[in-house]
Assembly symmetry: C2
Homo-oligomer: 388 residues x 2
């Protein structure tokens, strides 16, 4: 297997867009290709992520149309991936694996999603399709409910008062909203306080509105190349040091929702391949679909012992200057969450952090960064470790 | 890249089923795993195909649930592929590539679909989502319409009377229905005549009802392993000699519908990798979604010059004892077409043909076989060449 690296990255502003999925993807992809000093005809293949296009635009089989929009060669295949919220990360991983294998030399990978303008019943219905429809949806278990249960289980398991845990969860939202104010592409760019969270509408006890990420529109894409070729093309390619992907099915197999089994398996693969451990990570973009999800993630990575990560944001350890900077982009919580594009935006942020291109939100001296994307109610996790 | 081979294969009966997608996939996959002398825990990854689960069962993100149904290990990732009708072939190709690369040693790949019981308006609406929704669907261009245009263009381009071409197209249906009578897993197992076709309901002129394949329920799966390992596990693994995948976007880029650009690019890749040509192929399972589609395909493969393949079925050259036996399983036309499972069933048939396991429909002395699956209105083509 050859070493592989990321060249150019591109993303649209996240938020509410009037553009189609294909238009948004073309914008992000052309930015990534141009920053790589390449042209669409140089792409050997397209690894394309989208989740809800069938419902949002009546469009399945979107990959060859994205391929056509960009003018890729017919001989360069375009393949659609769908792994719920982990969609784009899984697409990027497969692109990187096939470059590493020598099947391709340069590929384009990323994702796009229109999710902001779905009305709440349709959004709830279609998002819940990423959980096990036969047994979970019928029981009324939608995603806020699953992560609310995880919060209750966390409080009970580790003997923390729920009211206390809620304040620490709120601090995660406050931090990520602060980070979002520093990101011109973030869906939300406004400061909030702990009271903003605790006084917001209850969604699924104990999760209130500001514990939850939004649905956004947006797209992001990256160009991946064999490392030697990458060094010929640009000064600062970012090495893909390690990757992991793992699966854990429906909730009835999960048992302990405070321990995300698929993440523990995926991060183990990524650390092992990269030859690094939690102590080496400078910055992470992780899947904070709900505030409690960020707490669970930093424990899975080994940044904290299980049951000890809940007050990282409160203590300032997850913000700039902290132990590991968590979600400098604003995360799903403030940067936004266009489902099938989210993982590609996380990779984009880490690549830019490792290149020192993040301006006000730059993590000083970042050399090794981690991407973490969770699909469904803990069913899929994909991790990517990047190194400058 | 290492040589890879197919071990066990499995498929459900195609037709109308009361089972869920997950139940059908489990049946096919467990058959494939058992025939490989392996257990689910031996699968390093799952490459899973499904197209319409979001609409048919309210289920996206189906891969980790299929993974759970089979009891695969958490560390073995499950990834969903969707490339319209080429879904399962694309999933198998990616599984084979990653085994070839050494990322995995043994993987499970295949697909499942429930499509038979959708009512016609929903089926028409969701199937059309594999065409370019923004420009084509609104113009009323559904799949029968596209292939009807291809038939008209074929007749005009090569100076064949449409009424004459229709008789030859009908012979394709007669042949594939005959093959279906020899396949106990086929959706339709009854003989038809040229008159059955020509007297059937008009769907999209010149395509009549019996020019069109059905929508079916079904699943199929295969186990893929590194060739050396495969030989340790069974006497007759079937080598994956070559693969190709290519993309061509919406119809407005196609121009000449009689020449499927994506197929011409994909088969070139597959022939080149396998080191064979059209003269070496003994048997093919190809994408006869409509009778005209079979004619276009055999020309793309180089079995016939362009404009010369239309009467292959009439002359008996595509049936048993012919030049190349086309769709001995009955093809999509008679075996049936469960969208996201079709490619895996084609691979299953070719594997069984090359092992001499096909009984009444055995192609005598078959050594090299070709799989061909087309997604959407010519947007994706994936080819796989197998060798005994």
């Amino acid at each position: 297997m050859r070493e592989v690296a990321i060249l150019g990255v591109g993303m649209t502003k996240f938020g509410i867009s009037e553009k189609t999925n294909l238009e948004m993807f073309a914008e992000a992809a052309l930015e990534a290709i141009e920053k790589s000093g390449l042209e669409p005809k140089d792409m050997d293949a397209l690894f394309f992520g989208n989740c809800l296009g069938g419902f949002e635009e009546g469009q399945l089989h979107m990959a060859p149309f994205a391929h056509a929009e960009l003018g890729l060669p017919t001989s360069s295949p375009a393949t659609r991936f769908e792994s719920a919220c982990a969609t784009a990360t899984v697409a990027i991983r497969h692109g990187a694996l096939l470059v590493s294998a020598g099947v391709y030399d340069i590929v384009l990978a990323g994702g796009t999603e229109r999710a902001a303008k779905m009305d709440t019943p349709l959004a709830t219905r279609t998002f819940a399709m990423a959980s096990q429809a036969q047994h979970e949806y019928g029981a009324g278990i939608t995603f806020p409910g699953v992560f609310a249960m995880a919060a209750h289980m966390y409080a009970a398991k580790y003997g923390i008062e729920l009211s206390e845990l809620k304040k620490h969860m709120a601090e995660v939202a406050v931090k990520n909203h602060h980070h979002g104010t520093l990101n011109p592409k973030a869906h939300f760019q406004k400061e909030i306080t702990v009271d903003t969270v605790l006084e917001s509408m209850m969604v699924a006890d104990p999760l209130q509105l500001f514990d939850c990420c939004p649905f956004s529109d947006g797209a992001a894409a990256v160009v991946i190349a064999e490392a030697g070729r990458a060094k010929d093309l640009m000064d600062n390619p970012i090495t893909i040091a390690g990757m992991g992907q793992a699966s854990c099915g429906p909730l009835y197999l999960q048992r302990d929702l405070t321990r995300v089994k698929a993440r523990e398996a995926a991060i183990k693969q990524a650390y092992s391949q990269a030859g690094v451990g939690p102590e080496d990570i400078d910055v992470v973009e992780l899947h904070d679909c709900f505030t409690i999800a960020e707490i669970l993630a930093i424990e899975s990575f080994g940044f904290y012992e299980f049951g000890k990560g809940y007050d990282a944001a409160t203590k300032g350890e997850a913000g700039f200057g902290g132990k590991v900077v968590v979600n400098p982009s604003g995360g799903l919580k403030a940067k936004g969450h266009p489902i099938g594009a989210t993982g590609a935006a996380q990779v984009t942020e880490i690549v830019q952090q490792l290149r020192g291109e993040c301006g006000q939100r730059q993590v000083e001296g970042a050399r090794i960064g981690l991407v973490d994307t969770l699909g469904g109610d803990l069913g899929t996790v994909c991790n990517i470790i990047l190194r400058s």
